[in-house]
């Protein structure tokens, strides 16, 4: 009888010991290395592809002014990288042999980082906007041209080339 009791006690102890192991929390781990590549990029979007100044009486309209042209700049660059938006004219405003200096074609801009005012040039790119680091700044600018009695008649054209750079 005594032997049976001891056997039972030992069996219970073994069972309890075993169950504590069996139901202890078990964990397993694994890992994954993640890599994301972010390269330099630049994207420029202008709200208009062409601007036209209709003929007008210089006394009534001494200054041609365009509708605002929206500018969207998207750039990915290094931290503090210099994002630069410039504009360079193809030449003076030209109508056959007659010309109007492109330097008289000026702009007024709004938006963070945009140059508030400036004049076009075909000899040197002019800075329209400048930013530091990656981002998506937006703004707009209007172009103005004096309407002078001295101009020869004609249809004058010029192309303005905008360049966005992000190092």
């Amino acid at each position: 009888m005594k032997k049976a009791v001891w056997s039972g006690a030992v069996a219970t102890a073994v069972l309890l010991l075993g169950s504590s192991t069996a139901f202890a929390q078990q964990t397993a781990t694994a890992s994954i290395a993640v890599t994301a590549s972010v390269n330099a990029k630049a994207k420029l979007t202008l709200g208009l592809a062409a601007i036209t100044f209709a003929d007008a009486d210089p006394d009534v309209t001494p200054l041609y002014t365009s509708a605002p042209v929206s500018v969207s700049v998207k750039a990915r660059t290094t931290v503090g990288g210099n994002v630069l938006l410039t504009v360079l004219a193809s030449g003076d405003l030209d109508s056959g042999s007659a010309t109007i200096p492109v330097t008289t074609l000026t702009w007024a801009a709004t938006g963070t980082g945009f140059a508030a005012n400036g004049a076009n040039s075909f000899t040197a790119a002019q800075t329209l906007g400048q930013w530091s680091g990656s981002g998506n700044p937006t703004g707009s600018h209007t172009l103005s041209l004096p309407n002078l009695w001295s101009y020869n008649t004609g249809t004058y054209t010029v192309t303005l080339n905008y360049t966005l750079t992000a190092p």
């Binding site: 075993g18 994954i32 993640v34 990915r76 290094t78």
Partner: protein
């Protein structure tokens, strides 16, 4: 000359064989037709130890997000496609099994960082759930009840923004399978 007085060893060999065969036959018949005299039972205890256990395997040890134009690909899928996760666990009846993942840090490229939360996943498989990675707390990938082998997939996506500084960003995701 043959008689009972003869010594056993001196008997002819054919007599020896016959007696032996008779004895063997008797034993066999006895065994074949014997029945227990009374009902008897004996108990044998079989102890099988089945302890808690957890095992996790992943189909890939690395994933990568290629560079892309944020305007055309605002959410970049990992090049490796869906990752298969297999969780094997032994636990108590109705015991909870949980699979979590946590990033060791934000995506980092030198001093530049992108929040780990810009990585999300779409899950497939019973018990698996969609989620967003975190560097501060473990996020639940899957939950089950009771022992078993379960498999599912995670397809990872990276939020692609213009605001990121250029660089190669890395982090490590650590998965933990817990069987309570």
């Amino acid at each position: 000359m043959r008689g009972p007085s003869l010594h056993w060893a001196a008997r002819p060999a054919f007599l020896m064989r016959r007696r032996t065969l008779t004895a063997v036959l008797f034993v066999l018949i006895f065994c074949a037709f014997s029945r227990p005299v009374a009902g008897q039972t004996r108990n044998a205890t079989l102890n099988a130890s089945i302890n808690g256990l957890a095992r996790l395997s992943l189909s890939s040890a690395a994933i990568s997000f290629p560079d892309a134009d944020p305007d055309t690909v605002p959410s970049i899928q990992a090049t490796q496609g869906p990752i298969t996760l297999t969780a094997k666990a032994r636990t108590s009846p109705n015991g909870s099994i949980t699979l979590t993942v946590q990033a060791n840090d934000h995506l980092r490229s030198g001093v530049n960082t992108i929040p780990a939360s810009h990585i999300t996943w779409v899950a497939g498989g019973a018990g698996f759930t969609n989620g967003t990675l975190s560097a501060t707390s473990a996020q639940i990938v899957a939950v089950w009840t009771g022992s078993g082998v379960r498999s599912g997939t995670q397809t990872f996506f990276f939020k692609n923004l213009w605001s990121y500084a250029t660089g190669i960003y890395t982090l490590t995701m650590t998965y933990t399978l817990s069987a309570a």
